[in-house]
Amino acid sequence: MRPILNLPPHATATQRAWHVGLWAITALVLGFLILPILVIVPLSFSSGSFLNFPLPGLSLRWYEELLGSERWLSSLRNSVVVACAATLLATVLGTLAALGLQRARFPGRSLLLALVISPMVVPLVIVAVGVYFFYAPLGLTGGLVGLTLAHTALAVPFVVITVSATLQGFDTNLSRAAASLGADPATAFFRITLPIILPGVVSGALFAFVTSFDEVVVALFLTGPQDRTLPRQMFDGIRENISPVIAAAATLLIVLSVLLMTVMEALRRRGERLRGIR
């Protein structure tokens, strides 16, 4: 018996078939999830101008075109600036709010929580149209400030959720102990609470970063030709003329997501380890 099948010797034929079938479905669904992402990577190294197999040859020309293009570089720069600013704002506001939400049960707490989470469920187009109408008279369209503010709102729920989850495993006695030993609230927070909940804060920040870095609908409404973001540039590329440059950009984004995922996994492990010690 192969170990992967892992069935007792007395298993019936139906059980065996079921077992194999389930594995087959699992493999197919996992393939469906991962293959489309992997397929785009080799295409970005094509020496031809079309996005199909077999590749006529290998080259880095599309990467050269991507990294040599002011359009792509400036959109990347805009995306990084907006995502960093939105992450910083969302992380600070979200962490404070998560601490507040955990600290006391005040009336309207669940309503407040629902409000804080709502940017995650409101259709993006509605957010986009709303901020487009609202920010225009304030002079917040056609620049990166308005986009940053909108992205902050969209990213905040992720921070609140992850930090709240971490706080659930946080023993409040620790900060009480710090206070009883004479630490003022700020010291207790920065020396005791923050280091313990840091994995949650960092993963919330990563979620926030990705949310902003990946967001295109609001960017379509709020950005002009000068301040377009990377996703917006990709959106136009896919809609107008999907070329290997898009594949090259996609590959770089895939590398980024692998990096982010690795950091998240490390944080998760660290969090588990810390909980295990406690």
Partner: protein, 416 residues
């Protein structure tokens, strides 16, 4: 019994303590409020207010009143029977000429054409070279310049356009209108498109949800039953797409599904099809790409629920004589229902609001409500209609969100 009758003094202590406790409690509450307040204020200003403004815009009717304030006021006093009194005609003629001079008429023209398609030309033709003084009454003068002004139907529309708020857009978003007699009726069949678009939106989201469940359930089940070392490894294959940009994934599907793409070639190679078939820029493409993008949102809640189910229950059922299928159906499946509910609601909520993916991989007949909201905002600049469609979509989403919060709890919304 050693208890002494408490004297007045020690009794004061507990009350003191209680007051102190209350004070501490109050301080904690204030602290909590102070910590949440910055985020609340931020969201109120930069998120809630814009959405509130959008809701207001769906009933906003200020085009005519802002350009023709006197006419609007006069029209509002008119009972709406037959033709309005001469005073309305007079102030209308005066403000029409003024609007022509300072070029503010086009807003009014635009508003009126929503209800009577040729009103733009009627308005401008009437305004062009309008005399200072009437030739007889203003009623006769205007009717002579354009017969539309002698029709009660035109003035019924004018009267509706004079109100500060209008149900017009919201009704139109539901394929309804107010007829000449003032009752709400369905619009004619050739103009009734929005209910179909809503139905299409919900249908696409429902099909995507069911596919996600059909694919996600066995996957989550298998992953949850594996030893953690292996399932963590395989979980990477679920999480990598989850972390990858939606545009990357949508673009990947455009490449895969195109006529000369790998999937068409593979299907031809195994002899399933003779020549390339259209897989993208149609409904197939929308379903495939949306299922791919939303599947992790189904797998993750299912997996976390299934991980928590002890295998002892199923074993107990089997040992009591249940067949594996019965044990699954009667014992395991009911325990996964919270995960199924959470996953389905989340996928459906996210699916209903989709814009990017259908816009990139769908055809003209596959666009969802979001597309039309964007279309009315950016292309035809009919902001009232954009806001009305958005409002209906928002209400539908918030209802679903409310159900989600009741059934699952908002703080259970886990993201990986």
């Amino acid at each position: 019994m050693t208890a002494t009758i408490p004297s007045a003094r020690p009794q004061e202590r507990p009350r003191n303590l209680r007051a102190q406790l209350r004070r501490t409690e109050r301080r904690r509450k204030l602290e909590a409020v102070a910590l949440v307040a910055p985020l609340f204020v931020f969201l109120a200003v930069f998120f809630l207010a814009p959405i509130g403004l959008m809701l207001v815009r769906s009933v906003d009717n200020s085009e005519l009143p802002s350009v023709m304030p006197d006419t609007a006021a006069a029209l509002r006093q008119w009972d709406g029977d037959g033709l309005p009194p001469e005073a309305v005609f007079a102030s209308f003629a005066r403000e029409l000429a003024a609007g022509q001079r300072d070029r503010s008429l086009s807003g009014v023209a635009k508003r009126l054409t929503y209800e009577i398609p040729n009103m733009r030309s009627v308005l401008f033709a009437t305004a062009r070279g309008l005399p200072e003084a009437p030739d007889g009454t203003w009623r006769q003068t205007l009717a002579a310049r354009n017969p539309a002004w002698s029709e009660p139907a035109t003035w019924a529309v004018m009267r509706r356009a004079a109100a500060p708020v209008t149900p017009y857009y919201l009704l139109a978003a539901l394929d309804r209108e107010i007829d000449a007699s003032g009752s709400i009726v369905p619009v004619s069949a050739d103009r009734a498109i929005y209910l179909d678009i809503f139905a299409r939106t919900f249908w696409i989201a429902a099909v995507v949800t069911l596919w996600c469940l059909a694919l996600g359930y066995p996957l989550a089940y298998k992953l949850a039953s594996l030893p953690p070392r292996i399932s963590n490894l395989l979980m990477i294959l679920v999480l990598l797409p989850f972390w990858t940009s939606i545009l990357v994934r949508t673009g990947a599907w455009v490449v895969l599904l195109q006529r000369e793409g790998p999937i068409n070639e593979a299907l031809q190679w195994i002899g399933l099809i003779g020549e390339p078939i259209q897989l993208v820029y149609n409904r197939v493409g929308v379903y495939v790409a949306m299922v791919h993008i939303l599947l992790p949102f189904m797998v993750l809640p299912l997996y976390s629920v299934m991980r928590g189910i002890s295998p002892a229950y199923v074993r107990a059922a089997t040992s009591l004589g249940a067949t594996p299928f019965t044990a699954f159906r009667r014992v395991y499946l009911p325990q996964t229902i919270p995960g199924v509910g959470a996953g389905c609601l989340l996928v459906f909520i996210l699916g209903v609001g989709y814009y990017i993916t259908p816009a990139l991989v769908g055809g003209a007949g596959d666009q969802m409500v979001s597309y039309f909201v964007a279309f009315f905002t950016n292309q035809t600049i009919n902001w009232g209609m954009a806001a009305a469609l958005g409002s209906v979509l928002l209400v539908a989403t918030l209802l679903l969100y409310w159900v989600y919060a009741r059934l699952v709890g908002v703080d259970r919304m886990r993201m990986g």
